[in-house]
């Protein structure tokens, strides 16, 4: 089997054109929940579960957090067992902590983790949501302006009806690395929840 080509460091990423970094900027650090089986790329949306760990997407009144690192980044994890089960090493550090920017902070962000072919083209002021799924790589924590999440065609996200975590600012474009990104302002706007 041929070797797998490595990824480029900007293929799955969160950029922060405005509002970060400041020494008191609102970020949050936690471990990824073992419930998450998909690869949690930088730029995806997570929330904090009852155990204080990150799970993918938005649910109920959860606050969105936009991941700065992937769970496979070298400052997050260093697995020491080969796919065949052989021992290479046991990492003392890194300890599995990830961090992200909290939606209540004041930023404009650009994420590579969005539905690049939405049912309705992204326009300024569209609300964005992100499906809560810890297992589906294509949709879990992926930003989209469709109320059914990435890949959906149910119509635009509605305020107070779906969980919203962002408002489109400059929309979809190719960045300096020729990678599609979506520019938006993060917000906290949960669906009405009884």
């Amino acid at each position: 089997m041929p070797a797998t080509a490595p990824s480029l460091m900007f293929e799955h990423a969160l950029s922060h054109p405005k509002g970060w970094f400041e020494p008191s900027a609102l970020d949050f650090s936690a471990k990824l929940s073992p419930n998450v089986t998909l690869q949690a790329f930088g730029g995806r949306v997570v929330h904090v579960n009852a155990a204080g760990e990150f799970e993918m997407g938005l649910e109920q009144t959860s606050m969105a957090i936009f991941l700065l690192q992937a769970d496979t980044d070298f400052d997050v994890s260093n697995p020491g067992t080969t796919p065949a089960g052989n021992f290479m090493h046991q990492a003392v550090a890194p300890a599995g902590n990830m961090s992200g920017l909290v939606a209540a902070g004041g930023y404009e962000l650009e994420s590579t983790e969005f539905d690049i072919a939405p049912n309705a083209a992204y326009a300024p002021n569209h609300l964005l949501t992100a499906l809560a799924s810890n297992t589906v790589q294509a949709t879990g924590g992926v930003l989209c302006n469709d109320r059914a999440g990435a890949g959906g065609s149910a119509g635009l996200v509605r305020q107070y009806t779906e969980n919203a975590c962002g408002v489109v600012s400059r929309g979809q474009f190719k960045n300096e690395h020729n990678v599609d990104v979506l520019a938006f302002w993060p917000i906290y706007l949960p669906a009405a929840f009884a």
């Binding site: 490595p6 990824s7 480029l8 460091m9 020494p23 008191s24 980044d73 070298f74 400052d75 997050v76 260093n78 020491g80 052989n86 021992f87 290479m88 090493h89 046991q90 990492a91 003392v92 550090a93 890194p94 300890a95 902590n97």
Partner: protein, 309 residues
């Protein structure tokens, strides 16, 4: 120990440096020297596996990330030598060796904030005020990550470790802590395929009292008398260096961690040693400490644990 007058003088000097343009570096250096010394003295991770300072040109660049990585070679295994009759040739072994990557993350304390006018009334050393909480927090994080890695590598109590000759490295030993059971604990590590001897013992400050109970016939003559009079101060005992910790949440009661010589355990690197960031803006002082470090246990056979029941 410095007198109160000396401490006040020290504090005033530090304040002057913090207030004088161009002198902030001297103030920060004074705190850094103090902090780094304390870090070296107080944490057990650094005493078991002393960190090596690593520079930028010792890092190994990767294609898919700009995050720092150090690749470490492990000694390759080799098949045993065999006896053969004359006119026979040896088998070929193509040399391949394992490697592993050490990756880095940052340990950072909370950012402490204080009005400088409230600090003026402190009669204790301000460097200590600045660094004590920071050091405790950072050492707790370092030590807990190390113990978590040790426990993970040994899998669990009385479970054979498949990548270390299928021997048990975390063993429950019945009979409490006695001269005999301590020797049984010392057998755990040499039973492995690497036949290593324990070089360092890690024990908590409650369990060590059980060892202090040893009588003259168990511990050896006047040493027993000295321990009962003065408490445990012996750094070397049973041909092992003993480290005593108060972190009972990490090193439980009636438990002994044993470590081989550091070169048989793994690598610990410091990319940026403990550094105190101090900033004064008007009358508000803020400070936090951070360090960038990485480490891995490369050889599972260099660690053992005994739980005395």
């Amino acid at each position: 120990m410095a007198t109160q007058t000396e401490v006040q003088l020290l504090n005033e000097t530090l304040f002057e440096q913090l207030q004088t343009p161009g002198m902030e570096k001297q103030a920060i250096d004074a705190v850094n020297d103090f902090t780094r010394t304390k870090m070296r003295e107080d944490g057990f991770y650094r005493r078991v596996l002393p960190p090596l300072q690593i520079s930028n040109d010792e890092l190994d660049r990767q294609v898919d990330t700009d995050k720092p990585v150090k690749v470490v070679d492990k000694e390759p295994d080799s098949p045993a030598a065999i006896s053969i009759p004359f006119a026979t040739l040896p088998v070929n072994v193509y040399i391949r060796g394992p490697r592993y990557r050490v990756m880095f993350d940052r340990i950072v304390t909370p950012r402490f904030v204080k009005d400088v006018d409230e600090l003026r009334t402190w009669v204790m050393d301000i460097r200590q005020v600045l660094s004590d909480n920071a050091i405790k927090d950072m050492l707790a994080e370092e030590d807990s990550k190390f113990i978590a890695a040790c426990n993970a590598v040994m899998i669990g109590p009385d479970v054979p470790v498949p990548y270390s000759g299928n021997v048990v490295q975390w063993e429950t030993i019945d009979g409490g802590i006695t001269r005999e059971t301590l020797q049984d604990a010392r057998k755990i590590m040499p039973r492995g395929p690497s036949h290593l001897e324990a070089h360092t013992v890690l024990i908590n400050n409650v369990t060590i009292k059980e060892v202090e109970k040893f009588g003259r016939d168990e511990m050896g003559g006047d040493f027993s008398q000295d321990v009962i009079k003065n408490g445990w101060s012996e750094a070397n005992f049973m041909n092992m260096r003993w480290i005593i910790t108060i972190k009972r949440d990490l090193v439980p009661d009636d438990t002994l961690f044993m470590f081989a010589d550091p070169k048989f355990i793994g690598k610990s690197y410091l990319l940026e040693d403990t550094t105190m960031y101090i900033r004064r803006e008007a009358y508000m002082l803020e400070f936090f400490a951070y360090q960038t470090c990485g480490g891995s246990i490369g050889h599972a056979g260099g660690i053992a644990r005994a739980d005395f029941a």
